[in-house]
Symmetry: C2
Subunit: 424 residues, 2 copies
């Protein structure tokens, strides 16, 4: 019989007799890679403090089109703001004019990509939403109700989800898309960020690595969060006191890659903060990433799938989504570098054919659409990679690197990428 006691002492070393990992011999000692990272960090700090490359605000630009932007406001200020809106409605009613909301339009035609800011912003078109009109009476009523609910939230300074808001008056809202849409409208009307309204999205992201921060007064050391990491808090206004000795932030698209890096404690070998929203970026993770970048002045390197959605996710972190362009100044993280997995990596790292997937018609269309987007066009290296993807019609997930062994990502691919400064 075979030894099934589990006590066998003659274990072979894991790599014994295993084929040499591709490119492993190109790796320099970690100290050399750390020097590379230190210079990346220095140049990021220099860029942040030099006024010429500093991301400008809308007001500093002499744009021909007038644009609008919202700002973070305290609960007190949001509350007073709402009272101001309601008082002016009351005056209008008393003057015999009925009432109407003046709501910034969030339609596609009212969106603008501003290259100087490298993000999407909202232009200044408004729409009237009168109460005394068949087509807008419901929306005007919903708007009033949402304003009253937000007023209550700010008074108590508690946070709720969009779902909670919806349930306060199901009969009026009918379905959640209606209360959600008006919530964005209310942000624009009040000129404050969505997070200022104390309405938060469900938390989804996690963070691990060389970061210490406070969550509602509790100090969190993310090097001591095991493998699971720390759940990113839903309410950014209770996050503060960020400190770090990291050299960069590694933004990871998916949880499988995040888990690999967390288990291997990658951040101990190369000091970094590892963060993921587990797929589509949620508002809480976007706010958290931006706050890290702004307070710690660290470079952000992105590890995403080599498909159009990987790049799209990168762009949402970087330039914002169209739906929330009014809040892009607060939600976006400037200057994210595309580290990998890039279309050119597939051949460069000899990803086996069977781990590449053919792009569907829809994938190819999404890729071509992205090539027309301003935020892609302004980065020639991105255009080159995306063109290659659409041409070869091949995509691959980060996990495709597992074909060389489960730890190839953390032991060879990422260190080599960092050593070669291979980000664009």
């Amino acid at each position: 019989m075979a030894d099934t006691t589990g006590k066998s002492k003659k274990r072979r070393r894991a790599d014994d007799g295993a084929p040499e990992l591709p490119f492993k011999k190109n790796l320099k000692p970690d100290s050399a890679i750390l020097e590379t990272l230190k210079s990346l960090q220095k140049s990021t700090i220099a860029a942040a403090s030099s006024s010429s490359s500093k991301p400008k605000s809308l007001s500093e630009l002499a744009l021909t089109a007038a644009c609008r932007e919202v700002t973070d406001q305290s609960p007190d200020s949001v509350q007073s703001n709402i009272e101001g809106v309601i008082l002016s409605l009351a005056r209008s009613i008393i003057a015999g004019n009925g009432f109407s909301f003046n709501v910034p339009s969030r339609a596609a035609t009212n969106q603008l990509y501003v290259p100087e800011l490298d993000r999407i912003v909202l232009k200044d078109k408004n729409t009237l939403r009168p109460f005394a009109n068949n087509s807008s009476v419901r929306k005007a009523t919903i708007t009033t109700k949402i304003l009253s609910l937000i007023h209550q939230l700010c008074l108590k300074n508690i946070h709720v989800t969009k779902r909670d808001l919806f349930y306060t008056d199901v009969k009026l809202f009918q379905d959640q898309t209606q209360s959600d849409a008006v919530l964005d409208d209310v942000s624009c009307v009040l000129g404050c960020t969505r997070s200022s309204l104390n309405v938060v999205a469900a938390e989804k992201g996690v963070v691990v690595g060389r970061l210490v921060f406070s969550d509602d007064g509790d100090m969190i050391d993310c090097t001591k969060m095991g493998i699971g990491g720390k759940a990113i808090p839903p309410n950014i206004d209770r996050v503060g006191d960020m400190q770090s000795d990291a050299l960069f932030i590694l933004l990871v698209e998916k949880d499988a890659a995040y888990m690999r890096l967390a288990e291997d404690r990658f951040y101990n070998r190369f000091p970094c903060i590892i963060v993921t929203a587990k797929g589509q970026p949620d508002v809480a993770t976007r706010l958290f990433l931006r706050k890290m970048k702004m307070e710690l002045k660290l470079p952000v390197l992105a590890l995403v799938d080599s498909d159009p959605y990987g790049l799209k996710i990168l762009s949402v972190y970087g330039c914002g989504s169209k739906n929330m362009s009014y809040d892009s100044a607060n939600l976006t993280t400037p200057d994210i570098k595309w580290l990998g997995v890039r279309p050119s990596d597939l051949d460069k790292y000899k990803i086996p054919e069977q781990c590449r997937l053919p792009m569907t018609e829809q994938d190819i269309k999404t890729g071509k659409d992205l090539l027309e987007e301003d935020f892609v066009k302004k980065n020639p290296a991105w255009v080159e990679e995306l063109t290659l993807m659409v041409k070869t019609k091949q995509k691959a997930e980060i996990q495709a690197l597992s074909s060389f062994g489960f730890q190839y990502l953390s032991e060879v691919y990422l260190p080599l990428k960092l050593q070669q400064q291979d980000w664009i």
Copy 2:
């Protein structure tokens, strides 16, 4: 103009002039509710230590049908086990008989609900999977490949996701459902739990409240995890040293309710541990809940939506899912109490009509199917509630309580439920 400076000093108290919250006047002082909880905890500890009510293991029962069960095994033991399987295959080949795997069947006909254990178990039917057969050659090859990958994982003692496994040989597996299914087969063949294979699911759950535990050696105090809470680690074998002064565990179906309770620091008012998988229970959260229950001997109270899926989710935590019945002993948490939101609560707590939703045909069918399930039938109070749901054809989410104010859940509903010992 209205005061928009945000400096107004004359804020009214939040509840001033607000209508009295329904049932708030029925609430006793917290000290009385705490006494109730202490007696619940005592009876749970007593039940756990009394041998008569102790959940038995399969081997202690004199069942007519033979059943099988897997156990937790160390990486060393899994590895030796695999070597044993492979050696016997080699002997069979040398003897001129080719080779064949003997795989326990996971079909519905091979499943059994055992009332004494209150969970689903796998019966003992096996299927042969010969290599030299057109219909099973692919599956036999996949099984061999998965065994070899698991052997490698146990040797290195690292954890990967199912997705990582799939990507090691896309050409062979073709799609991930095939490697996933064989992974469950391999658990059954080796007689070890899924987590012993070092293949983990993506993490999804979070925990907050009166719990201290170690995650891969780092001590985590869940009262100091802010509002975000601690992400539940994907690999339960690196979780340990659980300590708690809680009186109960509050298992919450959805993240919105979790967030409300975390922000209100409900666990400081009523010492408890609050845990959620944010919807469908994932393996990591199920393992974590079971470990808490077993080590801390705390009662588990469940807060789920009042719809068939809420009860179904409760049943997966309690009795297991059919797909992984072979591992039910390790994945299920015995004796979970259904606290709310229950169908009878809708009238009892006067949930407004507009916050109740009509059940769809599919909902009603799911509800009726549940009424036929053994794990529902054995609890007459559950049958009564579910019958009421199917009769009234109404469902409601936990969030429906927000119609009485966002904090009604944490300030009135839950305290009153606890005070009245209103769990079944």
